[in-house]
Symmetry: C2
Amino acid sequence: MIKTDLSFIGDEAKKLMDAHRAEADAAVALLESGSGRGSDFLGWQALPFDYDRDELSRIKSAAERIRKQAEVFVVIGIGGSYLGARAVIEAIKGTYHNELSDGPKIYFAGNSVSADALGELLAICREKNFCINVISKSGTTTEPGVAFRAFSRLLTEKYGDGADERVYVTTDKSRGALKALTDRKGWESFVVPDDVGGRFSVLTAVGLLPIAVAGCDVDALLKGAADSASAQKGTGTQAEEYALARYAMLRAGKSVEIMVSYEPRLTMFAEWFKQLYGESEGKEGKGLFPAACAFSTDLHSMGQYIQDGQRIMFETVLSVENSATDYDLGEDDDGIAFLNGQKVSFVNRMAQQGTILAHCDGGVPNVVLRVERLDEYNVGAMIYFFEKACGISAYMLGVNPFDQPGVESYKKNMFALLGKPGFEELREDLNKRLRN
Amino acid sequence: MIKTDLSFIGDEAKKLMDAHRAEADAAVALLESGSGRGSDFLGWQALPFDYDRDELSRIKSAAERIRKQAEVFVVIGIGGSYLGARAVIEAIKGTYHNELSDGPKIYFAGNSVSADALGELLAICREKNFCINVISKSGTTTEPGVAFRAFSRLLTEKYGDGADERVYVTTDKSRGALKALTDRKGWESFVVPDDVGGRFSVLTAVGLLPIAVAGCDVDALLKGAADSASAQKGTGTQAEEYALARYAMLRAGKSVEIMVSYEPRLTMFAEWFKQLYGESEGKEGKGLFPAACAFSTDLHSMGQYIQDGQRIMFETVLSVENSATDYDLGEDDDGIAFLNGQKVSFVNRMAQQGTILAHCDGGVPNVVLRVERLDEYNVGAMIYFFEKACGISAYMLGVNPFDQPGVESYKKNMFALLGKPGFEELREDLNKRLRN
C-alpha cells in the first residue's frame, strides 16, 4: 500500500490543503458517483475486482504458450498501449530483464515512426524465433499500423502459413479495421474495453498479456490494485491527500511536478505517470507540467537546476522502502572508505533523505509517496493509487480527466500532409504555411 | 553542420531577438576572449583541435584491446562522466547497439546507488568476460566509488592477478585517491583535464574511450567538432541564433524548454543536453527548465499537455534530415492503406512537420535545429554547437556557465547522514529535522 507523507511540503502548502479540502472531497464524490465529466470512461475502477475471468485465464494460457514459442516477443502499441506494460515489467523485473530473465526478450515497437528504430527491431527479430502482440483499439493508428505491417511481413517471410499462430491481437471487441482482419485471419485476440481509456488500460489485456509474458504474477498485480481500490475509497484517503497536495502546489504557484525515484527500474513507471497526469490534466490551459527524474543519477544533471534554478517546481518522491536485493560494501581503503561496513541500500536511503532536505531548503517542496517494495502486489497498488488520485486531481481543476482532444491536432496535420483522403483542404493550407 | 531554423518561433520572439542581439554579441565576445566568469574552464573550446595526440592514440589502442578482450564493457561514472558517452554511442549506433553490434556490450554503472541496479549489472558480468572503465576526477564521488568497489571485487574473484589488465581508469593527471591507487596498481589510465568541466568533457578520454570501444570513429567525431567550432566562431553564427532565440523565449515568458526529437536514438542525447543546459544555467533563480520528449512516442503521452496545458513552454526540435536506413511500406489493405507506396522516413517527416504547425497553433513556438544525419561527423558537430550556444546563453543570463555550486547541497547532507568524518554538526541538525 502507498502512504502519502507530507512532512516536507512546508506550512504554506499545508494551509492551502486545509483551505481546499472541501473541493477535494467534492471531487472524490463526483468521481465515485460517476456523475462527473467523462463518466463513460470509468471502467478502470472495476477492473481489479470485476475483470473478465475468462479473458484473464486466456491471457495466462497465451502467455505460457508465448514463453515456450518465442525467444523474442514484440509488443506493438503507442501511448497507453505501450507505457503501462513496459512500466510494470521494468519495475518488477528490472531494467535489464531482457538480459537476465529466462523468458522471451520483450521489445516495444510501433511507438514511433522512426525508420531506424523500426529497422533495429526488425534486425533483432530476423535472427530470432519471435511472435508479436499488436495493441490498437481501432487498428488505424499510424505508428502501430506501420510496425504491424512490417512485422507481419517478416513473420510471413519466416514462417509462411505458421505466421498466424504468432500473432496476438488486443483490440476492440467487435468494431474496427484490426478486429475485422483478426476475425478473417483467425488470430487469437483480446479486448480493449469501451469504457477504459488508453492511459487507464494497464490492468486490461493491453497491459496484462505482455506483463504475464514477462513472467510477472498478474493475479498478485490485480490483488494489489483491488486492495488499493478499497483503501482509496471515500474521503480522507492517501490518494486524496496526494491529489490535494498537488493542487496546493499549483495554488502556491508551482507549475512543474517532478516525479522522482531513487530506483532506476522506476524510470518507465515515471513515464507512465507523465502520460496519466499530463493527458488527464493538461487541457484548457491548466495542469502541472509533468517531468521525471531518476536520482541520484539526475542529481548530477538536473540537480543544480532543482537546487538553484527558477523556483517553479515541486517534487513527488516515489520512495521504495525496501530494495529487492542488497550489496554489502565490506572493507576497503579506496576513495569511499567512510562507507566501510555499510549496505548499498543504506547509502541510497541516506542519499534520498539528504536530497529531500536539501531541495526543501532550496525552496522545492517534496511530497513523499512511500511504497513497501516493488513486487506485483505493490505495483498493482501503485497503479490504482495514481489512477484514483488523477481522477480526483483533474476534477479539482475542473477538467475532464478522461478525454484527450489535443492529441488530434498533430494527427490531423500529419494525415493531411500524408495525403489521406478527406484532408485535402487542410493539406493545401499546411503546405502553404510550410512554403512561407 | 547544424542550421538554426527560426521559421516557427513567431513574430514576438523575432522582435525580442532583435532587441537583445547586442547582448548576444557581447556574450560571444566574453566567451571567446576568455574574460567572463568561470574562464578557468574553457578547455573544451580547444579539444577538437588540440587534443593530446598521444592520449588519443592510446585511447584508440586501448579500445581495440578491449574489443578483443571483453564481451562486456562496464563504464563506471555519473553526470558528465556518463551521459556524453552514452548519448554519442546511442545516437550513432542506435538504441539497441548491444543487441546488434559485434563488439562488446556496453553497460553504464555507478550512476546511482540503487542496490538493485548494481545487482543486475553484477549478475550480467558474472556470466561474461568483462572489463571496466572507471571515470572519476577525484575518485571519491560516492556513486561511482560504490560501483567501482563492487566491480573490482568481482574482477578479482574471476580473474585473480589478471584483474589488473581489465581495469581502465580515467581520472586526474596527478592528484586524487583514484590516481594514487592507479599508480600503485599499474592500471592503464587516461586524463580528465583540469580546465574542462564534467558536462563539457565528452570529447576527452571521458567520452572518447567508451565511444571508441563501441566502434565509433573518434577521428570523425573530433573532425565534426572542429569544423563546427570554426563555423560557430564569432557573431552571427547558428549557435548564437539558437542562444538568442532561447533568451527571447525566456523574455517572452516561457520557463520550460522541451528538447524534441523524432529519432528514439537521440533520447540519451537529450539527457546530455539537459545536464549541459540545466547545470550551466540553473542558478541564482534563473534559467529555462530543461525537459525532453521523444516524438511521436510522447505525442501519445505529453502531446495533450503540450497542445492544451499551461502555456509555459517552447520546443527545440532536433531535426535529423536523413535517417540512416529506411523501410518501404509497399502495398497492403490493412488499417493504414493510405500509406501504400510510402517510405517510413517520409511518414516520420510529415509527423514532424504536422506537429510543429499544430504546436505553433497551440501557442508553443518551435525552434528547429537541422542536422544532416546521425553519423560521427555530425554528432561531433552537434556537441560543439550545443556547448558553444550554452556558453553564450548562460553569459546572456549573467550566470557562470561553468560552475555547479548547487550540486554540493545534497552531497553534504548525504555525507552527514552517512557519518562521514567532518560533518558531525550537520548530521545532528539533519537528524533532528528528520525526527520531527
